[in-house]
Symmetry: C2
Subunit: 339 residues, 2 copies
DNA sequence: AACGCTAATCTAAACGTTTCGATCATGTCA
DNA sequence: TGACATGATCGAAACGTTTAGATTAGCGTT
């Protein structure tokens, strides 16, 4: 900018005024300055501007896994929304690791991001402190955090799983395996509650042997399913509480020589774009990814626009049960195939 | 830092020296400063540091679509690699739009990213100029760019498609539909060349009616497939040159009342994590996503480490044909089903 | 002619670091 | 004892912006 000012024989203040339109500058000087900008190929340095202004027009976004199609879709929507608003997005994947998340959020705050969207991981204590210290707006997404009282957009997970389980129960299933992620995050907790409540509402026992837990990865779903299928009294259906794990479930079913839905019914949380096309067409609980992403972005953009003092807003969206053909009705002959 | 200095009754220079280890500071002062840092909860401001140092420890990454599993996987690997190296990643999705890409790259450069990894979109002219102007290292990924002579990691697309086509031809297919993305980017061009060469090598004609082009989205694959399937002399196999489009292909096949592989064989570029499990199990060309991401990251990290003057390095990786069950051998009764 | 008002422009400080060179005490050596 | 190297610390400039406040010129009023 100094070079531009010299070339145009004006002060840097005038150049700044012209660029930002913060003051009127005469036509002559405007012309000289614009010419100089073109000649020199000047681009304003956003870092210097950020330092002075205290704002970076950049937000931080952390998710557990970007390869999980649910997060991929949401990230994509958020990215678009902030792109439109002229913000850049710094993306971090925490890989479901607490320390990683911790480090990454600090990294983002050090870089003076203007706001944060967090699909958190693990215990909320540290996150709580970080959020309290940093005075940037934070939006929680997908996962709430006890003690962190801030904007959030989540699903009614309990209801969604309740509905899915009720569907299975209505089909005649009585022993339904349930594969959950680590239960220290709110959706896993709520989904599990939905599972239990649906069973109880139908007067069915909650057999602990039917509940298995894993760490969100395909391999965890595989192992959990293997355990479920080797039970003496095998479940007739399996519900997987997240979508990477259901791939593992399907692989285990295949490897053990069974097939879905003939031998075992499968449903899961989170939809896939290809669910309609490949066999078995999985019955899933679809989250409104577009809405989740947009709402999270809107909540944060609203804060960034200056609405700092409004009380925390918590949006709860509804899931939708996509009934396809991976669950079969159980007739008189209950899970007839012998292992 | 000023506050820390005052609290510890030292100068800011000493605080800086201690934090960065750039000079020895006495045990007494060290203790005082460290205490002050803890008391105040001081965090170094990375923006101010960037301004002074001329480096942000942030890189920019632009991809056409993050929802495409291929890019998702690669982004994930790159993200992890830079995370380990202490860099932040600014992610941009260009949505296959030239202007968007242009804007985003400028945005990234304004923010003084230390380097750029680009899976480019469209014509290379503007990218070429931007890359020339910006004196940050750039690594091209997945897609080369004519006239941009920089580090790159790409696939041997031509060979990969040649192999896939040869496989189909060996199965007895003679009329093979081909669905490509817009051909102004190198992989699409190279893949098409592989298609033509395989046909020619087998002494088969290249029927232009069998080649359809779309814009990388599922709907484009759907439309292209609809056109192919309504041809008088329908192809017995379809190869889709990218993976979102193959979902559209499968939907079109379903909607038209045919089935794969009985009525029509399908193969495509890019693997899916679930390809092994759902029916039909798609035969695909798998890209070494892990290697692509790691190599791209390594190339850039090497430049960032100071190796600026080495001549541009171009890495060409090999694809792998994953033969599953979505393509059937053509016996005596050639594509028998009548439309 | 003196005055005040407005519009245009400029000067200089500030944002929070890093770093060069200066300062100063201390100990060593001739 | 004086010269000098050494090590620790500091002062101040610089990075490239923004912006408050000062300055100047032009013009209309009285």
């Amino acid at each position: 900018m100094l070079h531009v000012a010299e070339a145009a024989r004006v002060s840097v203040a005038t150049v700044s005024a012209l660029i930002n339109g913060t003051a009127t500058v005469s036509p002559e000087l405007s012309a000289r300055i614009e010419q100089a900008i073109r000649d020199i190929g000047y681009k304003r340095n956003a870092i210097a501007r950020s330092l002075k202004m205290g704002t970076t027009r950049t937000i931080g976004l952390t998710v557990p896994h970007i390869t999980n199609p649910f997060f991929t879709d949401v990230v994509s929507v958020i990215q678009q929304a902030f792109d439109r608003a002229g913000y850049a997005v710094m993306l971090c994947c925490t890989d479901e690791d607490l320390n990683t998340q911790d480090d990454q959020i600090r990294l983002l705050l050090d870089r003076m991001v203007d706001g944060l969207i967090v699909a958190r991981v693990g215990d909320g204590a540290i996150l709580k402190r970080i959020v309290a210290d940093a005075n940037v707006p934070v939006v929680l997404m997908d996962r709430l955090c006890e003690g962190v009282d801030t904007d959030a957009v989540v699903l009614d997970n309990q209801r969604a799983v309740f509905d899915a389980m009720s569907y299975l129960i209505n089909l005649g299933h009585r022993r339904i395996g349930y594969i959950t992620g680590t239960s220290d995050i709110s959706p896993m907790h709520d989904r599990m509650t939905g599972y239990r409540e649906a069973l109880q509402a139908a007067g069915l026992p909650v057999a602990e042997e039917l509940v298995r837990s894993g760490n969100f990865h395909e391999i965890d779903g595989y192992n959990a399913t293997m355990q479920l299928l080797s039970l003496h009294d095998r479940p007739s259906a399996i519900f997987s509480a997240n979508n990477p794990m259901v791939i593992g479930t399907m692989k285990a079913i295949r490897d053990i020589g069974l097939s879905c839905p003939e031998d075992i019914s499968v449903a899961c949380f989170d939809d896939f774009p290809w669910s309609d096309v490949f066999q078995p067409q999985l019955t899933t609980v679809a989250q409104p990814v577009q809405a989740i992403g947009e709402q999270a972005a809107n909540l944060l953009l609203d804060r960034l626009a200056g609405n700092r003092d409004a009380p925390p807003r918590k949006l709860v969206l509804k899931g939708r049960l996509m009934i396809r053909n991976s669950c079969r009705p159980l007739g008189a002959a209950v899970h007839s195939v012998s292992a």
